[in-house]
Symmetry: C2
């Protein structure tokens, strides 16, 4: 029988009623003829309770014990979901990570998949079981310890199972009903997309659309796993939600598919640095070591004149990072200066910026997208502070106060409200 | 290094403070030079929460899923205890049942130990780990599923580990500070015992003293594991609590060690049954099939005359069972009558009785204990309804209203308040 993977996040299994509701959706897919692998998160709030106990007990905790404690939340949901399905007449059993086994690296708290052997679960399907309920977010290290996968680990588990079992599709049930052209809270004209390409979703995910974790989309793209995002809390059918898939499945795509934003960005500029080979690595090496997520990077020709202190060519370097990493970024730069690795006249931090991006695979074959974007922003008097582009997206930093205005203007300019 | 097993029940690990308190006790034993195996229960209330979820989700639950869900409570405590010990500078790691592995039968919810291989934990001790924190109450079936051991399973786990690892002792930390000559709530003269023999403890445990589960005492006796019962909530040292041990360790024992009672007993009498070979099995076979825990059994010569309906000798049969099994017992008897297996004139149930027992290994070599017991009860005008004896105990059923009076009278008569 064809295999379907269905994933339910924490709010979708928050209590027994919601578990029952999710089980109904699973049953429907079984009736449609699928063998189903269900990936479950912990009931919402449970993981926080467990994390809090661990951190209170041991602030600098042993990550192996952290994982052993925290993974129990998903195990509970898996058992309860299996029981609920059985109660509805569906033959199901629960699987903890070590029982599958979900083999991972030993990087506790941020483990990565090594292999998911199919044999055990396939044997149960062959026996007539129709559903395998798998605890998400966890695995087994070569040392026989329980691992967890880190943020978004349940989505990633779902995609990994879909790849390993060659599933027809991986349905991610969540608290929104799909992927929108932009955040509906910012633009009431936002429209739900029927389909979106992996590459676009990846840009949207990493740019701040919170629905899917970047890592799960990457994995889906690599193994060509068709992902569907849909709501746990509404009636759903084969056409619900948004399908994230390869470009080949998308007949006619618009040039721009969506407008993403990231509110908490900071812009850091180093003025008057030497313009020499190796200067970029002298700056970004220390930032990487300090764990700063540098996003946009722009190097300008300095407008300043040479002075006595600078005997060579000079330039300015601007980069962006999340606002909560600004203090660490400043320290990394000051330390690098003190260590003689870099030299700058001034370090200016602007924490009042936001990033707006337009994303679309159609950009590859269409010129003029950037011009249209800048024009739309100019028409609203929104000043652009930094520009960065990739093959399928254009991102700008603007003053944060213009965020809503800019998103709405771009949504209108690219007519994203029209199908 | 010598190995010590320490077990902490649910109230002893009810919250993070109590886990920390228990960890202090573990650390002290490590400092005394022991390698320690700690067996933990779920934080109190957690198991009930999980059981409630399971029963609400599926009233006739799949016991394998029940076990998978419920066992998670102990896993959480094991991780937290290990973290707490690490935080105190003690090298510890947690062990879930499948990691040891604790091999059990597949009787989910009431599994029995098959084997506890030492290799994995011994290897960690050899590496320098000083504490293995093991989740109690659980194991692994040959099918790779999580099992639970049923009532008192954590005590049993502790004893089984003590046997497998040839531990010097198995300390059971609980909410009382030892085994008493009787229930202190009933007799203020109750005295804590320093030592008690396995056989005595077994009689006391099965007779209603709630401190240790029968099964764990049986296991301790079989493998000669020295058990110590002591309080989690008091300062304890090498001499705290009560040691449950072989008779050879008890120098001079009193004839009677304690007075036990069981409040919720019922007495059932079948009048005028045939007095023929096989009649007992015709009665107690159906009761066993119905799951009735028959305790005392007394067969009397009937005082009734022969009548037309009975052509052979007749007798009466009396037995006792817990009050909450009376309805089932009556039905089993009525069904057996309807099926023609047995025949009786009347079935009389008395649910207002209690069982009082005096227990002591010294009885084996001392006559007159029964006489002294009956005399003491007679002096208080307590009528004895049924008597049953074993090598080291004498039990009587009395009207429940006399329970406290009878316990106190016997405690005085055998001078149990004196060491």
């Amino acid at each position: 029988m064809p295999i379907l993977v269905m994933k339910f996040g924490g709010t979708s299994v928050a209590d027994l009623d919601r578990i029952a509701n999710a089980a109904e959706k699973v049953k429907r897919e079984v009736e449609r003829g699928y063998d189903v692998i269900v990936i479950v998160s912990a009931m919402s709030g449970k993981t926080n309770e467990l994390v809090n106990w661990v951190e209170t007990t041991s602030p600098l905790y042993d990550a192996r014990e952290y994982d052993a404690v925290v993974a129990s939340g998903e195990n509970v949901t898996a058992g309860l979901m299996s029981l609920r399905l059985q109660e509805m007449g569906v033959s199901a059993r629960s699987w903890q990570g070590w029982q599958v086994p979900i083999n991972t690296t030993s990087a506790h708290g941020a483990a990565r998949f090594m292999s998911i052997p199919r044999a055990n679960i396939d044997a149960k399907f062959a026996e007539g079981f129709r559903v395998a309920v798998v605890a998400g977010f966890q695995g087994l290290s070569a040392e026989g310890r329980i691992t967890t996968l880190g943020r978004g680990g349940s989505d990633t588990t779902a995609v990994a199972f879909a790849a390993a079992f060659e599933a027809e599709r991986c349905d991610i049930y969540t608290d929104v009903d799909g992927i929108y052209t932009t955040d509906p809270r910012i633009s009431p004209k936002a429209r739900k997309l029927d389909k979106i390409a992996f590459e676009e979703m990846l840009e949207l995910a990493s740019l701040g659309a919170k629905v899917l974790q970047t890592r799960s989309v990457e994995l889906a793209m690599r193994y060509n796993v068709r992902l569907r995002v849909l709501s746990s809390f509404e009636e759903t059918d084969e056409n619900s939600g948004t399908l994230v898939c390869g470009e080949d499945e998308i007949m006619e795509s618009k040039v721009v598919s969506g407008v993403a934003y990231s509110r908490d960005e900071a812009k850091i500029t180093l003025f008057t640095i030497e313009d020499r080979p190796g200067i970029a690595s002298a700056i970004f090496g220390p930032l990487a070591e300090a764990g700063i997520n540098v996003d946009m990077i722009v190097q300008n020709i300095s407008e300043k004149d040479y002075d006595d202190a600078h005997t060579g060519a000079v330039t300015d370097m601007t980069f962006s990072c999340p606002t909560n990493q600004v203090a660490r970024a400043r320290k990394a730069m000051e330390d690098a200066m003190a260590a003689g690795l870099i030299k700058y006249d001034d370090l200016i931090i602007d924490t009042e910026v936001a990033k707006i991006s337009v994303v679309g695979i159609g950009m590859r074959s269409h010129a003029g997208v950037a011009a249209k974007m800048f024009e739309a922003l100019a028409a609203e008097n929104v000043n652009i502070k930094v520009i960065a582009t990739s093959e399928i997206k254009i991102s700008v930093l603007v003053d944060r106060k213009y965020l809503e205005l800019a998103v709405q203007a771009l949504h209108d300019a690219f007519e994203l409200d029209k199908a």
